[in-house]
C-alpha cells in the first residue's frame, strides 16, 4: 500500500530480448517506426509532431515512474522550462534550432538537479508533493519573469535552419527532424531501463532498505534517474516549442504534469511503448474532439474512468497481458 507503483508494472525482463514477448515488443516498435516514417504522407504532420513531442515527454516521465517508482508531479517544470529557454534562444538570440534544443535540455537537466536534490530525500506521496510544490514555484517564477511575456507566452517562434542548412519551415524536414529526436530519446530511455543501472533502479523501487543494506547509495541512483528524466522531458519541451512555435504558461503549470501522468497510465506505465500510445491518444482526443461540440473534458474524463476500470494496466500493459496468456 505504501509504494506508489503498481507492483506488476515493470519486470522489464532482463532476458526480455530472448523471450517471445520481447520479440513481439521489438516487432511492434519496428513496425511503429516504419509507420512513423510513412505517416506524414497520410496524416497531418504538425499533429504527428505534437504527438511525438508528448510521447517523448511521457517516455521520460515513465522512466522515473515506471522504472524507478518515483511519481513526479512536477515534470511540467522541465518540459515548459525548456520550451521557454529554447523559444527565447531561437527568437531573441537567433540560435540555430539544434543547439537551442540542447540548451533547453541542459537547462532542464540543471533544474532537475536542483529539484531532485531536494525531492529524492522523500518517498512516495511526499516525493510527489515536493516535486509539485517546487514546480509550482518554478511556474510562478516564469509567470513573474518578463522574458516569458506572461500568459501571452513567447509567440511566433521561428523554426530556423537546422545546422544552418536544412530549412525546418518545410513540414517534412521538420517532421523528420522531430522524428529523429524522438527515436534517439526513446532509445536512450530503452537503454537506461535495460542496463545494469536500470536493474538497480528497479531493485530500489522494490525495496529501498534492502538496497541500502546491500551497499547501494540509493539517493545517487534516484538522483541520476531524476536528472535523466528531467533532461529528456526538457528535450521534449524544447522540440515542442519549435513545433508549435509557441511557449506558454500552460506548458509549466501543474495541469501539464497531470496530463503526462495520464498519458503514461493510459498507455501503460512501466512498458516501453505505453507512454507513446497514451500520448498519441490524449493528443488525438484534445485535437479532434475539439470540434465535436461536446465538452472535450467530459469525453476525456469518461475515457479515463473507463480505462481505469477496464484496462488498468494501460492499453499496452493489457496487450502484453493478453499476449502472455
Amino acid at each position: 500500500m505504501s509504494t506508489l507503483v503498481a507492483p506488476k508494472a515493470a519486470t522489464a525482463g532482463t532476458r526480455q530480448q530472448r523471450d517471445p514477448l520481447g520479440r513481439i515488443g521489438l516487432a511492434a516498435a519496428l513496425l511503429g517506426l516504419v509507420g512513423l516514417v510513412a505517416a506524414p504522407f497520410f496524416v497531418y504532420p504538425v499533429f504527428l509532431m505534437s504527438v511525438l513531442c508528448f510521447a517523448l515527454f511521457a517516455c521520460a516521465f515513465n522512466l522515473l515512474l515506471g522504472y524507478a517508482g518515483l511519481l513526479s508531479f512536477g515534470h511540467a517544470a522541465f518540459f515548459g522550462g525548456a520550451a521557454y529557454v529554447t523559444a527565447h534562444a531561437v527568437k531573441e538570440w537567433g540560435w540555430e534550432p539544434l543547439s537551442a534544443i540542447l540548451l533547453g535540455t541542459a537547462g532542464a537537466a540543471f533544474l532537475g538537479l536542483l529539484i531532485g536534490l531536494l525531492a529524492i530525500r522523500r518517498q512516495g506521496i511526499y516525493f510527489a508533493m515536493i516535486t509539485l510544490a517546487l514546480s509550482q514555484m518554478v511556474a510562478f517564477i516564469f509567470l513573474q519573469t518578463p522574458f516569458t511575456h506572461g500568459e501571452d507566452g513567447i509567440q511566433n517562434v521561428p523554426r530556423g535552419h537546422l545546422l544552418g542548412v536544412i530549412d525546418l519551415n518545410e513540414p517534412l524536414a521538420m517532421y523528420f527532424f522531430v522524428l529523429a529526436i524522438f527515436v534517439l530519446g526513446f532509445l536512450a530511455v530503452w537503454r537506461i531501463v535495460h542496463s545494469p543501472y536500470g536493474h538497480i533502479l528497479q531493485a530500489i523501487r522494490e525495496n529501498e532498505n534492502r538496497a541500502v543494506s546491500l551497499g547501494y547509495r540509493v539517493d545517487r541512483y534516484k538522483l541520476g534517474a531524476f536528472v535523466m528524466s528531467a533532461a529528456l522531458a526538457g528535450t521534449a519541451g524544447s522540440t515542442k516549442a519549435l513545433v508549435t512555435q509557441i511557449a506558454t504558461l500552460t506548458d509549466v503549470q501543474w495541469q501539464m504534469s497531470g496530463e503526462v501522468i495520464l498519458m503514461t497510465l493510459l498507455g501503460g506505465m512501466g512498458t516501453m511503448l505505453g507512454p507513446v500510445v497514451g500520448a498519441g491518444l490524449v493528443i488525438l482526443l484534445q485535437n479532434y474532439l475539439a470540434a465535436v461540440g461536446f465538452p472535450v473534458t467530459v469525453l476525456i474524463g469518461i475515457i479515463f474512468v473507463l480505462c481505469v476500470l477496464l484496462f488498468r494496466r494501460g492499453i499496452v500493459g493489457e496487450a502484453i497481458r493478453l499476449l502472455k496468456k
Binding site: Y44, V46, F47, G150, E151, D152, I246, D251, A290
Partner: protein, 384 residues
C-alpha cells in the same frame, strides 16, 4: 473572374467552449456566426458558405494546431473569434505566415493591432484601450476621480490597469493604489479590505471572467458600494451580469460595444438570438456576427476569396450592420466604432428579463481606439 477557392467559403470559429471564458462567446458565438451566414443569404458568389468550430480549451498550442490543420487540410479560409490573447496572438501569427485572414473578437490585447499586427489580421468588438477609455475616462468625468485597482497578475490585467490609470490621470484623477492577485483567486475579501482602506472613490477590477464575478459578489457582501465607493469592472459583459444577478451586480460600471435594449434594431436582433439560444447576446457574440457578415460582404465586393483582395476590401469598406453603424477599419486592422459606458441597474429598476443596463455615456470611436500611429503597428511593412 469570380473565383472561390475549393468552391466553398469556410469560416472557422475557434474559441473557448468549455473553460473559463466559455461565457464570453462560446458555442453561442457559433450560433451568431450561423445567423450571419443566413442573413447574408447562405451563399456568396454562388458558392456555399460553411461554418466550422472548435474548442481550443484556452491552450495556445492546441489552438495553433487546430488552426494549422484548418488551413492546411480543411481548407478553411478565415478564422474568427479567438478568445484570450495567447491564442489570438498565436493564431494571428500563424495566419499571417500562411497568408490567411483572421478576425479577433474574443481577445482584448492591443498588441494584435500593435506590434504584432498583421496585414490580414483584424480586431473587432473591443480591446483593452477601448475599455480603459470607456470606463476610466468617462467615470472620471462623472466624478469618480480617485481609483484603486484589483488587478489580475497577468499581462491583460496589467495593460488594463495601466491604460485605465493613464486615462484617469489624463482626466485629472488619481490612482491611489493597486493590488495584484493571482489568476483564479476565489476569495477577494482581503483585497477588498485594502481597497476600502484606500478611500478611493472607484474600485476598478482589472481582471476577467469568474475572478471579476467573485470580486463583485464579495464587494457587495462587504458593503463596498453601500459604503459609498463605486465599482468599475473593466472587462465584463452582459452574460456575466446575468450570472451574478442584479442583487450583487447593481451599480457596476462597465463598457460594452452593444446592448440589446438600446434601440429597436438591437432589440430585434436580440430577440432573434434569444429565440435560438435562450439568452441575450453580448458584445463578443454580436461582434462575431458582424465579423462574419463583413467578411462575406468583402468577398462579395472583391469577387474572390483570395486573401489580399478580401483584406483590401475589409480595410476599405465601412461597417454598418446590427452590431454598429459607425464602424471603420483602420490601416492596422482595428475596427473602430462607438462604444458605451453602462451602469448595471438595481433589481428595482429592472423590469424584464435581461433588463440590466442603463447607458451612462457614449465613447466615440475616435477616442475609443488607438490611432494607427500610436498603436505601434508598422503598416508601411504591409504588402501593397
Amino acid at each position: 473572374a469570380q473565383e472561390i477557392s475549393d468552391d466553398v467559403v469556410k469560416i472557422g470559429i475557434l474559441n473557448d467552449q468549455s473553460g473559463v471564458y466559455a461565457d464570453f462567446g462560446g458555442k453561442w458565438s457559433v450560433e451568431a456566426a450561423k445567423m450571419a451566414v443566413e442573413d447574408f443569404g447562405g451563399t456568396v458568389l454562388g458558392k456555399p458558405i460553411e461554418i466550422v468550430d472548435a474548442d481550443h480549451q484556452n491552450k495556445a498550442d492546441i489552438a495553433s494546431n487546430i488552426a494549422r490543420e484548418w488551413y492546411d487540410v480543411q481548407k478553411v479560409d478565415a478564422i474568427m473569434e479567438l478568445t484570450t490573447s495567447s491564442v489570438a496572438l498565436a493564431v494571428q501569427g500563424l495566419s499571417k505566415e500562411k497568408g490567411k485572414i483572421d478576425i479577433v473578437t474574443g481577445a482584448a490585447s492591443t498588441e494584435l493591432t500593435g506590434k504584432q499586427c498583421s496585414p490580414y489580421g483584424f480586431h473587432w468588438a473591443y480591446d483593452t484601450h477601448a475599455l480603459a477609455v470607456g470606463t476610466g475616462g468617462a467615470l472620471v468625468k462623472a466624478g469618480g476621480d480617485s481609483w484603486f485597482f484589483l488587478t489580475a497578475d497577468y499581462a491583460f490585467g496589467y495593460s488594463l490597469e495601466q491604460q485605465t490609470g493613464d486615462f484617469v490621470k489624463a482626466n485629472g484623477g488619481f490612482v491611489l493604489g493597486a493590488v495584484r492577485h493571482p489568476l483564479a483567486t476565489t476569495d477577494y475579501s482581503s483585497f477588498l479590505l485594502q481597497a476600502q482602506a484606500s478611500g478611493a472613490k472607484v474600485v476598478g477590477f482589472a481582471n476577467a471572467g469568474l475572478d471579476t464575478a467573485n470580486a463583485i459578489k464579495q464587494a457587495a457582501e462587504f458593503g463596498i458600494v453601500a459604503g459609498g465607493q463605486q465599482l468599475a469592472a473593466l472587462l465584463f459583459t452582459l452574460a456575466e451580469v446575468h450570472g451574478l444577478g442584479l442583487e450583487a451586480a447593481n451599480g457596476i460600471n462597465l463598457t460594452e460595444g452593444w446592448y440589446w435594449d438600446q434601440n429597436d434594431e438591437n432589440r430585434a436582433f436580440g430577440e432573434k438570438f434569444f429565440a435560438r439560444t435562450q439568452r441575450m447576446p453580448n458584445t463578443i457574440q454580436v461582434g462575431t456576427y458582424s465579423a462574419v457578415l463583413q467578411y462575406l460582404k468583402a468577398i462579395d465586393a472583391a469577387k474572390t476569396d483570395e486573401t489580399k483582395a478580401v483584406a483590401a476590401k475589409l480595410h476599405e469598406m465601412p461597417v454598418s450592420d446590427a452590431f454598429t453603424k459607425t464602424g471603420k477599419v483602420q490601416a492596422n486592422g482595428r475596427m473602430a466604432y462607438d462604444m458605451y459606458l453602462f451602469q448595471v441597474k438595481t433589481p428595482a429598476e429592472s423590469t424584464k428579463p435581461f433588463d440590466y443596463f442603463k447607458e451612462i455615456a457614449t465613447v466615440p470611436a475616435a477616442d475609443a481606439y488607438l490611432s494607427v500611429e500610436d498603436s505601434g503597428c508598422d503598416v508601411s511593412a504591409f504588402p501593397k
